[in-house]
């Protein structure tokens, strides 16, 4: 896991804010503000809300995995417990008519997440590696199991519902509509992202990297590896709690699935897919995964198979995740040679994509033939409807797969060469 911050870590003094540092944030904010005017339907807004909640959660997870080197199999617990507390708070506000506006709720969620993380972290952060992973798994299973046993707090299987509209109106906004909730979540997403980014720049954040890479050396420098891990862990719990509160606000219900180990596994998948080595990696992962989940699942019944395959391919071939792939192009861009890559890319990637689609078509055909009801030979794939029992679609899919693969292999060497050339500074022989 190479890390961008490792390279920048050599810069010792904090430089003044430059345009390059501020620009991504400004663009993100403008983007977030503009999105609802492009996608207006409530379901689109709900999906975008889901995306932003996942972003906060994934970033908080990456404070552990990417920045602290702690592999957790139970991170959903902190988000869930934070959310459950917020749900109770929501109900208390409703019954007692407390003068609290809804937008401050995430602070409470964060504090509850922080509280749980401090308790668990006090003993789980002594060691990193497998010990930490296994403790997190054990705690995760424990709390998930409690969620169906202790119904007074977790509401059992029905979960804990609430109503966000009973909070004190916030400048006249009662959060009846999804769009109002969208801007609330957007605000908190930007704020938490900024805070998490700043945390990674603090000495503690830096030391987390050092402890991840070499705990012994960090100890020799006089830092307690355990305390550094503990601080990262608590901070991650805080932001997970914020994500939980945002979830509570958006869906107005929390259920036991919020705490399940499946949820913890999904966030690991998201963070890794996006790239744990870069701060913005999990953001990409969250966006891509939410889209896959809501769009691909409508297209295909075997979408989880594709996600699994994509994940495994990422682990094997792109351990830096999607962010890693993007950042691979930075040197070439610096040399001003990014343009030279376009044509070789098209030559290789287009056949490769055709091959992948062909393979997916083969899988869908096979799945349809095996599992569709008898007599239902008609299937729709890539916006065309045809008979899955006839030979032609199979031939087309096979040809696409084999042909695409063959073409991609054929042009791969020239891509490799172009890549090599693009990554060589000007004036030096390739």
């Amino acid at each position: 896991m190479t890390d961008a911050s490792q390279k920048t870590a050599t810069i010792t003094r904090a430089p003044a804010l430059s345009l390059g540092q501020v620009l991504p944030w400004v663009i993100s904010v403008i983007f977030l503000v503009a999105m609802p005017t492009i996608f207006q339907s409530n379901s689109a807004i709900t999906i975008m809300n889901q995306m932003m909640i996942t972003i906060v959660f994934a970033l908080s997870y990456n404070m552990l995995l990417g920045q602290g080197g702690m592999l957790s199999f139970g991170h959903a617990v902190y988000m869930g417990v934070g959310g459950f507390f917020c749900m109770h708070l929501m109900n208390i506000v409703e019954t007692n008519e407390l003068p609290i506006p809804l937008p401050v709720l995430p602070i409470f969620g964060g504090l509850f997440g922080l509280g749980l993380a401090t308790i668990v972290g006090s003993f789980s952060t002594r060691k990193a590696g497998t010990v930490f992973a296994m403790i997190s798994l054990g705690i995760g299973e424990l709390i998930a199991a409690c969620s169906v046993i202790i119904t007074a707090f977790f509401g059992g299987e029905e979960g804990m519902p609430g109503d966000r509209t009973y909070f004190m109106p916030f400048f006249g906004i009662e959060f009846l509509q999804q769009i109002e909730v969208y801007y609330l979540i957007a605000f908190w997403t930007v704020l938490s992202t900024l805070l998490m980014y700043l945390f990674s720049r603090t000495p503690v954040g830096r030391m987390a990297n050092a402890v991840r890479d070499n705990p012994e050396r960090a100890e020799f420098l006089g830092y307690s590896a355990r305390w550094v891990r503990f601080f990262s862990f608590s901070a991650a719990g805080f932001f997970a709690g914020i994500a939980g509160a945002l979830f509570a606000i958006n869906y107005e219900i929390l259920t036991e699935t919020n705490l399940s180990t499946t949820q913890s596994g999904v966030i690991l998948l998201i963070a890794f897919l996006g790239g744990v080595g870069f701060f913005f990696g999990p953001i990409i992962g969250a966006i891509v995964f939410t889209l896959l989940q809501s769009v691909l699942s409508l297209q295909s019944e075997i979408w989880q198979l594709y996600v699994g395959a994509l994940f495994l391919a990422t682990v094997m071939y792109f351990p830096g995740g999607l962010a890693g792939v993007l950042m691979m192009h930075v040197p070439a861009a610096k040399f001003g040679k990014l343009g030279t890559l376009v044509v070789p890319y098209i030559k290789t990637l287009v056949p490769a994509i055709i091959a992948i689609f062909g393979l997916a078509a083969l899988m869908e055909l096979l799945f349809h033939v095996r599992h569709a009801s008898a007599g239902d030979d008609e299937m729709t794939l890539f916006w065309t409807t045809f008979d899955s029992h006839s030979v032609l679609p199979w031939i087309i899919a096979c040809v696409a797969t084999v042909g695409g693969f063959w073409l991609a292999r054929l042009s791969a060497p020239s891509l490799r060469e172009a890549w090599h050339r693009a990554n060589t500074p000007k004036g030096r022989p390739a």
Partner: protein, 318 residues
């Protein structure tokens, strides 16, 4: 008393099943230093392969062929997957096996669907061998117990008494030295991974008819297998055996008891409230031990990790 004896037998059965899984896992761990998250998935593959084979060739051929197939799949995964990821470090390895577990489950669903498979034990073993009280003990379970004991003895013999076992043991501790002596260490790794997964396959073949063959069977058993080897001490075969039996009996006796938590609360001098629905502790008042039985292993694991990180028999930290 009858119930205690029968619980001992059932616990032994479940413990030995766990052992068939954990022995392979612990071998793989001590060799490669990575916990194979997908180990239970190989167990599931074993059950499905055996089901498919038993449709054509009968149960016994399934028992013979399916573990071999699983072993081959395992060896291929090691050769073309794990070995590649190995260079990135342990955490990506762990994540790789995690992803593999997801993928195997999806592949199973792709081919066999979501339904339960009607995978049955062989007719010849479908009778009650003996009864204690009214409780019948099926012959098939006794057969399973003997099979797993035989596997354990065989494994122990190979590891401690044969030349190949010596080389494996040496490769576990000093891979570079062994390599320098002219042995092909990557090949040994691949072989051990194959054998470990094949053992999981055997467990799947045997357990499929009893515990059900369905796509969630790996998930249900998956994490408990780690718990076993963490408690037993990573890399220790004896530890795996002891922890498996311990967990087998623990869960069996917890499930068969009916100890109420109300008695603990009462021993603290608390009064059972008149109306339970108003009490914040209402869940504790109605809780019984069987309800939390399946999470006892996790509590045990967390305690062990906190107080004795190398487990019961392990020589090194997790």
């Amino acid at each position: 008393m009858d119930l205690v004896i029968i619980n001992l037998i059932d616990g032994l059965f479940y413990g030995l099943l766990l052992f068939m899984l954990s022995s392979g896992l612990t071998l793989i761990f001590s060799m490669m230093g990575v916990l194979n998250f997908a180990h239970a998935s190989f167990y599931m593959l074993g059950a499905y392969f055996a089901y498919q084979i038993s449709m054509y060739l009968g149960f016994w051929m399934g028992l013979l062929i399916a573990p071999l197939l699983v072993g081959v799949v395992g060896a291929l995964v090691e050769r073309y997957g794990l070995r590649r990821v190995h260079q990135y470090g342990h955490v990506p390895e762990l994540i790789f096996t995690f992803g593999l577990a997801l993928l195997i489950e999806e592949v199973i669903k792709f081919f066999w669907g979501n339904n339960l498979m009607a995978y049955q034990e062989p007719e010849i073993l479908k009778f009650a061998l003996f009864s204690i009280g009214n409780n019948a003990v099926p012959a098939y379970k006794v057969f399973m117990i003997f099979t797993s004991v035989a596997i354990f003895i065989g494994l122990l013999y190979i590891l401690t008494r044969t030349r190949i076992g010596m080389i494996i043991q040496a490769a576990l501790s000093y891979p570079r030295t062994v390599e320098a002596l002219g042995h092909n260490v990557p090949l040994i790794f691949m072989g051990v991974f194959g054998v470990g997964t094949a053992l999981a396959g055997v467990a799947g073949v045997l357990a499929g008819p009893v515990l059900g063959t369905f796509p969630g069977m790996a998930f249900v058993l998956g994490s408990i297998v780690f718990v076993t080897i963490v408690i037993g001490g990573l890399g220790s075969l004896w530890g795996a055996l002891v922890a498996s039996l311990l967990l087998g009996w623990l869960t069996t006796f917890a499930a068969s008891s009916s100890f109420p938590f109300a008695s603990i609360l009462e021993s603290f001098g608390m009064q059972r409230p008149e109306s339970l629905s108003d009490s914040y502790l209402r869940d504790l008042w109605t809780l019984t031990l069987p309800q939390i039985g399946p999470i006892l292993p996790y509590i045990l694991m967390v305690l062990i990790l906190v107080f004795r990180p190398h487990g019961l028999f392990g020589k090194r930290d997790v």
